[in-house]
C-alpha cells in the first residue's frame, strides 16, 4: 500500500492527472473529436514517460472527454462525443428554456458520480465481473442489441411509428459498406470511400448540428430576429442556478445509481461503449420517471441518466481490458496500445506482478473524476457564456466547427459531404416530426445485431434457431427483457391515455408543421 501511494503522489503523476483532465475536457467539447482520438493523439507524447503517469493521463482523458462532450451537447445541440448524443435530447431543450447552466450542473454531478462508481467498481470487483462477461457470446450480443433497439420506442416521443421508421432507416444506413461477416461490399455503388461504411461522427454532426442550425435560421426569421439583429439568448436567460440542491440530489440519486450500474455493465461488455450506455441510461431515466411527457422537452432526469451512464461506461470498459485484455470500447482498445507500449500485459499478472503500477492508475482514474468535478464547476460557468452569443453569430461558427470536426475524425473531405447530406436529411426529418435519435441508435446497434445474428446462425448449425436461443439462459433473459421493454410502455401509455385524456381524444385532431 505505501508503495502504491508513493507511486501515485509523484509530481509526474499529478501533472499527468491535471493535464489529462484539461486536455480531455477541451477535446470532448470539440465536436467530432472524441476520447478515442484524444487518447490516440496523446499516446506518442507519453513514449518517454513513466508508465504510471502515462496511463493516468490516458485514463483521465477518457472520462473527462466523455464529460466534455456533454457541454457542447447541452449548449449547442452539438454532441462533442457520440456518447453525448442522448444528453443533447433534453440538455439543449433546457438551454432553450433558459436552464442551460442547471443542465450543466446536473451533467457535472452525474458524470462525476458515474465516473466514481465506475472507478470504484474497477478497483473492487474487476476480476469477478470480467469472468461473468466471458459468458456472453454472439447470441447474447444479438439479444442485447435487440433489447437496445427497443429504446427507440421511448425516444420516439408522441409518435412511435415515426421513431421506428427512423430506426429502420438507421438499420439500412449501417448496412452500407463492407459486411463484417462476409466482407461483401453493400450499397457502396462503386464508391471506394463507402467501403468502410458511413462514418458515425460526421453522420451525427449532420443529423444533430447542421440540421439544428438550419432550423435556427428558420426560427430566427420567424421571430423576426434576423431583421433586428436581436439577441435571442443572453447569459441571464441561461439561469443562475448551477448545482442541484441537496433535495434535488437526493431525488436524482436512485436514478444516478441505476444509470451508473447499467453503464458499468455495458462498459464491461466488449464492443458496447459510451454511446450505447448513454442511451440505456437515458431510457432508464425515462422508464422510471413519473412524468415521461417532459422527456425530449427538457427533463433534467434525461441529462442525469445519460451522463451518469456514459461516464460509468469508462470505468466498466477498463475491467475486461485490464483483467482479460479485451477492450470494452473503442477508446479502451486504443488505451490497450498505451498499456503494451509501456510493457504492461493485461491479465492476472497485472494485478500481482505490476500491482504497484496498476493500482495507482485505478486510484488516479478515480481522482481524475473528482478533479473533473472541480474543473467542471469552473469550466461550466465560463463555457456557458457561449450561449450568451446571439444565435445569428453562433450559427456560422458552429457550422465551421461542424465542418472541421467531421473532417478531423478520418482526415476525409468525403466525410464532410456525408455530414452535409445528413444535415439535410436531419432537417427534413425534424420538419416532418421524425425523431433523429432512433436513426443514430440503430446505426450504433445495427452492426452488433447483424454480427450476433450471423454468428448465432452459424453456431446453431442445423438446429432450429429458436430452440438454439431457448437453450441459452442469458438469451432467454434478454428476450424477456426485450418483450417487456416493448409491451410495458405500450400498456402504460394506453392506461395513461385512458385515465388522463378520456375517450374523446382522437389521433387526428391537429396537423401542423
Amino acid at each position: 500500500m505505501p508503495e502504491i501511494i508513493a507511486n501515485l503522489f509523484t509530481v509526474d503523476v499529478l501533472i499527468a492527472l491535471i493535464l489529462g483532465v484539461f486536455v480531455g475536457m477541451i477535446i470532448g467539447i470539440l465536436p467530432g473529436l472524441g476520447a478515442t482520438m484524444a487518447i490516440a493523439l496523446m499516446i506518442p507524447m507519453t513514449y518517454g514517460w513513466d508508465p504510471t503517469a502515462s496511463l493516468v493521463l490516458l485514463c483521465s482523458i477518457y472520462t473527462t472527454a466523455t464529460f466534455g462532450g456533454s457541454m457542447s451537447a447541452i449548449l449547442l445541440c452539438t454532441p462533442g462525443t457520440p456518447s453525448s448524443a442522448a444528453t443533447a435530447q433534453d440538455g439543449y431543450e433546457l438551454t432553450k428554456q433558459g436552464r442551460g447552466l442547471e443542465a450543466m450542473g446536473i451533467s457535472t454531478v452525474s458524470s462525476v458520480f458515474g465516473g466514481v462508481v465506475g472507478g470504484v467498481a474497477l478497483l473492487l470487483i474487476a476480476p469477478p465481473l470480467a469472468q461473468f462477461a466471458l459468458r456472453f457470446s454472439s447470441p447474447e450480443y444479438f439479444f442485447i442489441a435487440l433489447f437496445g433497439l427497443t429504446i427507440i420506442g421511448s425516444l420516439a416521443g408522441n409518435d412511435p411509428l415515426k421513431g421506428f421508421l427512423s430506426g429502420a432507416l438507421g438499420l439500412l444506413f449501417c448496412c452500407v459498406g463492407m459486411d463484417g461477416n462476409t466482407a461483401y461490399v453493400r450499397y457502396a455503388f462503386g464508391n471506394i470511400r463507402l467501403y468502410s461504411g458511413i462514418a458515425m461522427v460526421p453522420m451525427m454532426i449532420g443529423l444533430f448540428s447542421v440540421s439544428q442550425m438550419m432550423m435556427q435560421a428558420e426560427r430566427l426569421v420567424k421571430a423576426g430576429a434576423i431583421e433586428k439583429g436581436q439577441v435571442l439568448n443572453d447569459s441571464t436567460a441561461l439561469g443562475t442556478k448551477f448545482l442541484p440542491t441537496f433535495k434535488e440530489f437526493i431525488h436524482l440519486l436512485p436514478l444516478m445509481i441505476r444509470a451508473s450500474v447499467l453503464g458499468l455493465l455495458i462498459g464491461i461488455l466488449p464492443g458496447a461503449g459510451g454511446d450505447i450506455g448513454s442511451w440505456v441510461g437515458y431510457n432508464e431515466a425515462k422508464r422510471t420517471a413519473k412524468d415521461r411527457s417532459k422527456f425530449g422537452h427538457g427533463a433534467l432526469e434525461g441529462v442525469c441518466g445519460s451522463e451518469a451512464a456514459n461516464n460509468a461506461v469508462c470505468g466498466g470498459a477498463y475491467i475486461p481490458l485490464l483483467t482479460l485484455g479485451i477492450p470494452g470500447s473503442g477508446a479502451a482498445a486504443v488505451l490497450m496500445g498505451g498499456l503494451t507500449l509501456h510493457g504492461l500485459a493485461p491479465g492476472s499478472t497485472l494485478f500481482t506482478k505490476n500491482a504497484n503500477i496498476v493500482y495507482p492508475i485505478i486510484i488516479g482514474y478515480i481522482l481524475a473524476n473528482l478533479l473533473m468535478a472541480v474543473v467542471g464547476v469552473f469550466a461550466c460557468r465560463k463555457v456557458v457564456k457561449v450561449a450568451a452569443i446571439p444565435m445569428n453569430v453562433i450559427t456560422p461558427l458552429v457550422l465551421v466547427l461542424a465542418v472541421i470536426g467531421a473532417y478531423a475524425i478520418n482526415i476525409s473531405m468525403f466525410d464532410v459531404w456525408v455530414m452535409l447530406a445528413f444535415g439535410l436529411l436531419g432537417y427534413i426529418m425534424r420538419k416532418a416530426d421524425f425523431p433523429t435519435a432512433p436513426c443514430v441508435l440503430a446505426m450504433i446497434l445495427g452492426p452488433m445485431a447483424e454480427k450476433g445474428l450471423h454468428a448465432s446462425l452459424q453456431m446453431a448449425l442445423k438446429q432450429n434457431i429458436v430452440l438454439f436461443f431457448a437453450g441459452r439462459p442469458l438469451c432467454v433473459v434478454f428476450f424477456l427483457a426485450t418483450v417487456a421493454s416493448i409491451v410495458i410502455p405500450l400498456v402504460l401509455n394506453r392506461r395513461d391515455r385512458k385515465t388522463k385524456e378520456g375517450p374523446e381524444s382522437g389521433a387526428y385532431t391537429a396537423v401542423d408543421d
Binding site: R186, Y187, V393, P396, L399, V400, I411, D513
Partner: protein, 162 residues
Amino acid sequence: LNKKQKEERRMDKTPGGGKVDHDVYIGLVLIAFGIAGIVNAQAFPPAAKRFPMLACGLMIVLSLILVIRGLRRGAAIRKGGGTIARLFPWDTAKYALITFLMTGIYIALVEHVDFFVATVIFVPAMMIFMRVKKKWVIVLSTAGITFFCWFMFVNQLHIRMP
C-alpha cells in the same frame, strides 16, 4: 399594418392549400427507398443480404402504415373542411435552404481552395446573411474562429488540413 404584421399575415396564408397529408408523400418515398434496397440486395450473397432485407422489409411495412394513417388523417381533415399545412413553406424554408447551400459552397471552397481562406470568406458571408450588423463582431468572430481552428487542429493536434 406595420412590416411585421404584414409579414405575419403573409406567413399565415402560406400553410393553406394542401389536401394530402405530407406523411403520405414521405411514406411513399420511404417505400421506394426500401424497394430499391431490396432490389439492390438481390445481388448480395445470402449471408450478406439477410440483414439489409430485414431492414428494408421493416421500413416498407412501417411506411405502408404511415401512408394509410396519412390518408386517413387527410380524409378526416378534408371532411372537417380544413387544409393541411405545407411541410416546407417557402417563406421560412428558404432561409434553411440558403444556409444549407452556403455551407455546401463553403465545403467546396475548403476542398478546392484552402480551409482558412474558405473560413475567412464563409464566416462574414454567413453573418451578413444572418443580419449581423456590427462590423467588429464579424471581424472578431472570423479572426477568433480561424485562430482557434489553426491553434487547436494544426498547432496542437497536428491535423493535416485540406
